[in-house]
């Protein structure tokens, strides 16, 4: 199944990855190859089969409600690209 360029642009937008205009064609072509391969799955008869999200079919263990973390802001923000007054800075957020 060939994936159209505008569809690539749509998923790239969802994934927040910029793709230069001159590369979109090639990206679309390679992704089409991959999708053609995975489309073999469509032939499989999976009617009534329970999807398997975890290979052990295990269930969640629960944590006791205790505070175990301490304030490590300094260490965490030492590796941040832009901080001020303890806040992470980003270009203006518009609601």
């Amino acid at each position: 199944m060939a994936i159209e360029q505008d569809e690539i642009e749509k998923i790239a937008e969802l994934a927040r990855i910029r793709i230069a205009d001159e590369q979109i064609g090639e990206v679309a072509q390679r992704i089409t190859r991959i999708l053609d391969m995975v489309d073999q799955l469509q032939a499989a008869d999976t009617a009534g089969v329970e999807p398997m999200a975890n290979p052990l079919d295990a269930v969640q263990l629960l944590r006791a409600d205790t505070v175990t973390e301490t304030n490590r802001r300094e260490a965490f923000q030492a590796i941040a690209p832009a901080v001020e007054d303890g806040l992470y800075l980003v270009p203006k957020v518009i609601d």
Partner: protein
């Protein structure tokens, strides 16, 4: 055209856990920015979520509180979107298998009627951080302290028909969750936030209109105003032949209007899928039974009990069960004085009046339930009149001693000594010869009015401490 408003509410309730839903960070409100954001909350590479048992327990408590179906196997999903207050680029939520399924509860309306509102579902999820818009050289600041605070998202059916019903729904919900103790319900701090889905349809029509969603409305008053405003906006559009656009809007309290949210302009595709870092949450009957056993008496049950046991009106009972602390206080007063009716009056009128005036919560009342009960006892045993009792209460409120000590120290005890009263009555009769003549010449109908003058005079002489029943009796004997 007569329009019917159709409203469904999504309430985001912060659960009162000590630590976050998926990490061991504290959830305290008002901490310095990012001091309660751990590596998990910051979505540092390789970090993984582990589910807080208390959040599960609180969700189940809520489910039982609304007689809902409990999801014995619930699943967390990832809801994917990019936003700076969402560090992982996805919110861990529950989509297809929530922990609480369909349920319902009854709301009380101002006119005394009640209505059933359906709950579609309630699911666990994590709160996002906060974007602070103060100007940092044209940038926004991100505080992730709130990220990962456990939320229960409670989704109602579109059963609500007016702003008043919406507010009643929220108040009932607020009362329920504070009874359960699963949330502090502090709306000013964002513990309970509300999204409003609202559409209009011609009265009598069954078909739902196109709805708008108003995000993050954070007080009862704003909910009411946002709905009224949105009703007018939609009615104007429809009546001028326009069409409602399905969109997300923001209520601006300063301007008292709703406006479209710019950040939600692009249709999102959340790409929900089961969160592979968490496993299905499976709870058993025993776990649910144990929680059911530990549930406190809920407001609806307490209200019914107050009506039956204390012979209160539906309205009075409703007011008194508003918060568990108020209801407990009331019942302690009843226990101390033995008269449920007078206790209800005092708690509702005098006590709540003072609390409201001073913006105090019941927990902070300077007059304890026992002290108030004692005061009422003194009315009941005729030690003081109701009027004097108000003076005593005022003194107690100001932090003076117990009712008895105040009564004693100020000499407020009612005069019931028949000798002393008789002397006062005789003096009043002697001092007001003209009125006595007038009284004696009047017919029975007029006499009833005129006797009040003599009672008043006696009370004046006694500085309010004369026992009014005895004064009446003496006057009746003497004025013949």
């Amino acid at each position: 055209m007569q329009w019917e408003t159709v409203i469904g509410l999504e309430v985001h309730l912060q659960l009162a856990t000590r630590s976050k839903i998926f990490s061991g960070s504290a959830t305290d409100f008002g901490a310095e920015p990012n001091t309660q954001a751990s590596a998990v909350d910051l979505a540092m590479p390789g970090m993984l979520p582990v589910l807080n048992e208390q959040a599960v327990r609180y969700a189940v408590m809520f489910g039982l509180g609304i007689d809902a179906h409990i999801g014995m196997r619930s699943v967390f999903d990832r809801k994917n979107y990019f936003y700076p207050d969402l560090p992982k680029g996805y919110q861990i939520s529950q989509f297809s298998d929530p922990i609480v399924g369909a349920g319902q509860f009854e709301i009380q309306l101002e006119d005394g009627s009640s209505k059933q509102i359906g709950i579609t579902r309630a699911h666990l999820e994590e709160d996002a951080g906060k974007s602070l818009h103060e100007d940092f050289h044209g940038m926004s600041g991100i505080d992730l302290n709130r990220a990962g605070t456990p939320l229960l998202e409670i989704v109602s059916e579109p059963d609500i028909r007016s702003a008043a019903e919406a507010v009643a729904y929220l108040k009932t919900l607020h009362s329920l969750v504070t009874y359960l103790g699963i949330s502090d319900g502090n709306m000013a701090e964002g513990s309970m936030r509300c999204d409003i889905n609202i559409s209009l349809r011609p009265m009598g029509s069954e078909k739902l209109g196109t709805r708008a969603e108003i995000k993050n409305v954070n007080s009862f008053r704003f909910v009411e105003r946002a709905i009224r405003h949105e009703f007018e906006r939609q009615a104007d559009i429809l009546e001028s032949g326009g069409r409602i656009v399905q969109e997300t809007r923001l209520y601006d309290a300063d301007r008292d209007e709703t406006r479209p949210m710019r950040s939600k302009e692009v249709a999102n595709d959340y790409r929900y899928f089961p969160e592979p870092d968490l496993l299905p949450v499976v709870i058993d009957e025993q776990y649910v039974a144990e929680i059911r056993k530990s549930l406190p008496e809920l407001p609806a049950d307490k209200r019914q009990r107050f009506i039956e046991q204390h012979q209160l009106s539906a309205y009075d009972a409703g007011v008194l069960v508003d918060s568990p602390a108020l209801a407990d206080y009331y019942e302690q007063v009843v226990a101390a004085c033995g008269d449920a009716k007078i206790a209800a009056n005092w708690v509702q009128v005098e006590l709540r009046g003072q609390l409201n005036k001073n913006e105090l919560a019941i927990e902070a009342s300077p007059v304890s339930a026992n002290s108030l009960g004692q005061l009422i006892t003194r009315i009941l045993d005729n030690s003081i009149s109701g009027k004097i009792a108000k003076q005593v209460f005022e003194a107690m409120w100001q932090g003076e001693d117990s009712a008895d000590e105040i009564i004693e120290a100020r000499g407020l005890k009612q005069v019931s000594d028949s000798g002393a009263l008789e002397a006062m009555v005789d003096q009043v009769i002697a001092d007001n010869a003209a009125q006595v003549t007038q009284f004696l010449e009047a017919d029975d109908g007029k006499r009833k009015k005129l006797v009040g003058f003599f009672v008043g005079q006696v009370m004046k002489v006694s500085k309010g401490q004369a026992n009014p029943q005895m004064v009446n009796k003496l006057l009746a004997e003497k004025l013949k």
